[in-house]
Amino acid sequence: MTNEPNRGTPSLSPVLLAGFALRPLPLVLLQPALDLAMSLMRRRHSDVFERLDALENASFLIDPVDLPFCFTLRLGPAAPRLWAVGTGGDMESPSAVLRGPLLVLIRLLEGRMDGDAAFFSRDLAVEGDMEAVLTLRNAVDSGGIDLAEDLLSLFGPMNGPARRALGVAEALFARAERDLESVRAAFVASVEGRCDAQTARLRDLEDDLADLRTRMPRANAAGKRAAKPGAARL
Amino acid sequence: MVPAAKLTLGPVLYNWPAEVKRDFYFRIADEAAVDVVYLGEVVCSKRSSFFEPYVPEVSERLARAGKEVVHSTLALIMNEREMEAVRALTAAPDLRVEANDISGAALLAGRPHVIGPFVNVYNEGTLEVLVRGGADRVVLPCELPAGSLEVLGRAAGNAELEIQVFGRLPLALSARCYHARAHDLHKDGCRYVCEEDPDGMALETLEGDGFLAVNGTQTLSHSLCCLLRELEALRDLGIGCFRLWPQSVDMVAVAGIFRGVLDGRDDAAEAEARLGELADIAPFSNGFYHGREGADLVAGGTFSPVG
């Protein structure tokens, strides 16, 4: 519901400040991370996507009002896709629009916040095809999505050579989970703290995961963005 | 052979002054081409006592005029006093009663009675149970589409089926009185403000479109259901009784129009035009029969929304 006026003047938040840092980033650079996040979600939460089957050709504009860009989510016969778009919301007539602060959207995605309550308090704004919105909400809520855990799963195919290093990997996994949680928590911390923490944690992550020969830059990007696909699913 | 169609007059749902109601029924007895007349307060037990003194006189006059008289029970029964009223009505062995709550049907079990439109009969399974309990006529809920009516028509056996063909659609019942609420009163001290609105209190959307009508604890449609053009099809579906809900229009003339179409004397479309002039308090609707929004008016296979 937040509407155009609110879109223009989101409340001051760490996310908003972080958004300024992201502003120069060409949106196309986000795409590999978004694609990766979506395929991960489909793998880990097939039940969620099964519930979305009822939506034949729905498209959503997901607008974290405190970020300088939006996401579009398209569902249909082909694999669902998520794109980052400018705040003009260039999407040609989406089925529905969801607007809210990024953290609200993430909490909704993870089922940690009730969508109706967010709507009643008007932290969440919805427009357009409400059946599509409800289907999306109900599907996402059914799934037990946990962004940190989901994204960390990228690093953990415990097979082949990795199996031998299971003990080590488990420790690293736990460490990475902790670290990523810190990154997420940092979003709500003060902006200076956030930047420092993020830099530090990301360096840690990088070191840890190099051992596992995971493709670090991509995974890392996913770690940061996954929040948004998530938000998208809300 | 299909038995002759019956035209029925449902109970007055609104709080008309008792004398107005008495005179209304006298005129119905003397002039209206209806076969069955339902009497009694269905909506609010607080109103019941006003008309009760006139009931013997009115029912006798209706019976003398050859009308079948049926006594309707309250629809929402929430306390001992209301239950007692239903018990008293159903205890009289020679009264024909319409049960508008399942409690009434339970008390009437084993002898012929009518199931009113406020009891939920949506399918053949339910119809069968109620007919087994003694119902010989079942007035169906207003939201049933033609497809459901057809199935029920086949399943009814010897029981008659009745549906509403004229009047505001009874959409909801509540414990709360919205008439009182709109006047900043409580139900207990309502001052019978519902008497001011003989067709219910108009309720519009914020944009000024007619939408609903409030009748005390009951909510009705703004539009008037009119199934004149559907009468022939309804007869083919096995519906034998056609209910007119009283509105504050010339109900004798309304009955005459329906009678003319039922008897095959008059053309339905032309009759509908005449009815429109006579009952001009609101636009017509027939959406439920056609499986659409109840507020819709489907005309000759095409669809045109009404306000």
């Binding site: 357009g128 059914s142 | 399918n123 399974g125 207990d188």
Partner: protein, 330 residues
């Protein structure tokens, strides 16, 4: 006073919500299949047969029961989906069926006499004679009371009937007698009784007009909310309309029922179980509301004062009412 705790009957629209309810202390979780056989037939919601099987296992392992709602009215000429819902729920081991349709009650009694039958609120059984009928004719062992009765009326009723009663304690509130309202069908062609939906999302539109959010249902405007004002569902009976030249909430404000303050009175009135509304709500709602009511029910059973639940943020229009339990509501 103290006594046996009220049974806490909690909603679930998804397996995630079911686990949340069980983990938060529900005695019972009620749910429905993913079709028109239950009164929360919302898109993306409800359970498949395998999900019910898993849910039953999860609940039963933790000492929690599952009631399956098949509480819409079977369609004339097509009773199969309703019959299958009853058959499958009974065969999978549901602890009770929640039914409203007389034809379906009759079917369940004949086919699955051993499965407990509860009367849904949708049957609108509001007096002892009606309840006795459902008990005698169909062996109903519990009735969910319509949200039209005061606590005093409930107490009097309990003294006269041979079955348990369950009442609504929290959540969305019908202001109309349940099962006897076709307002939704009038505006959208889809009704609680026939389709299991009220004011369905498919017919809802929100539009931002100037500084207001306008909600529409079908072609009717239901409400307008100025920016910053708490919002409600675009449910017809919670809309703002004009009567006698005045615009307002003619039927009811956007509000939620909260009967936590009258729990001791409900216990004293002989009520057996408390029901929380909200199969359409998210896991977060379920977890928070169920946990709060667990505390409240246990406190009431010990004879302690019921602590404030702090559930204001979960309520529609961010407001609460004790609804029909107080006579002044009428």
């Amino acid at each position: 006073m103290s006594g046996t705790p009220l049974e806490l009957v909690c909603p679930a629209g998804t397996p995630g919500a079911l686990r949340a309810a069980v983990d938060a202390g529900a005695d019972v979780v009620y749910l429905g299949f993913r079709d028109e056989t239950n009164a929360r037939n919302f898109p993306g919601l409800n359970f498949s047969r395998p999900e019910l099987r898993d849910g039953l296992a999860y609940a039963h392992e933790r000492g929690c029961r599952i009631y399956v709602a098949v509480n819409t009215f079977a369609a004339a000429g097509n009773p199969d989906p309703w019959h299958r819902a009853v058959d499958d729920a009974a065969e999978l081991g549901a602890d009770a069926l929640i039914l409203a349709d007389i034809g379906l009650l009759d079917y369940a009694r004949r086919r699955h006499p051993e499965t407990r039958r509860h009367l849904s609120v949708q049957a609108s059984a509001s007096n002892p004679t009606a309840i006795a009928y459902y008990h005698e004719a169909f062996g109903v062992q519990r009735v969910v009371l319509p949200r039209v009765l005061t606590v005093t009326e409930i107490a009097r009723l309990n003294a006269q009937i041979p079955v348990e009663t369950e009442v609504f304690a929290f959540g969305g509130m019908c202001v109309m007698a349940e099962g006897r309202c076709v307002l939704s069908a009038y505006a959208t062609g889809r009704s609680p009784n026939m389709n299991g939906v009220c004011s369905p999302a498919s017919h809802v539109r929100y539009e931002q007009l100037g500084g207001r959010m306008v909600s529409r249902l079908g072609r009717f405007t239901i409400n307008q909310f100025p920016d910053g004002e708490p919002a409600g569902y675009p449910t017809l009976c919670k809309g703002r309309f004009v009567a006698g030249g005045c615009a307002g909430y003619l039927f009811e404000e956007p509000t939620s029922l909260d009967a936590s303050t009258v729990l001791p009175e409900l216990m004293a009135a002989g009520v057996r179980a408390l029901k929380i509304e909200g199969r359409q709500r998210g896991r977060a709602y379920i977890a928070e509301v169920v946990a709060a009511f667990r505390r409240a029910v246990d406190a009431a059973a010990r004879g302690d004062p019921v602590p404030p639940l702090g559930l204001g943020g979960m309520t529609e229009g961010l407001r609460e009412t004790t609804g029909a339990y107080a006579k002044t509501w009428r």
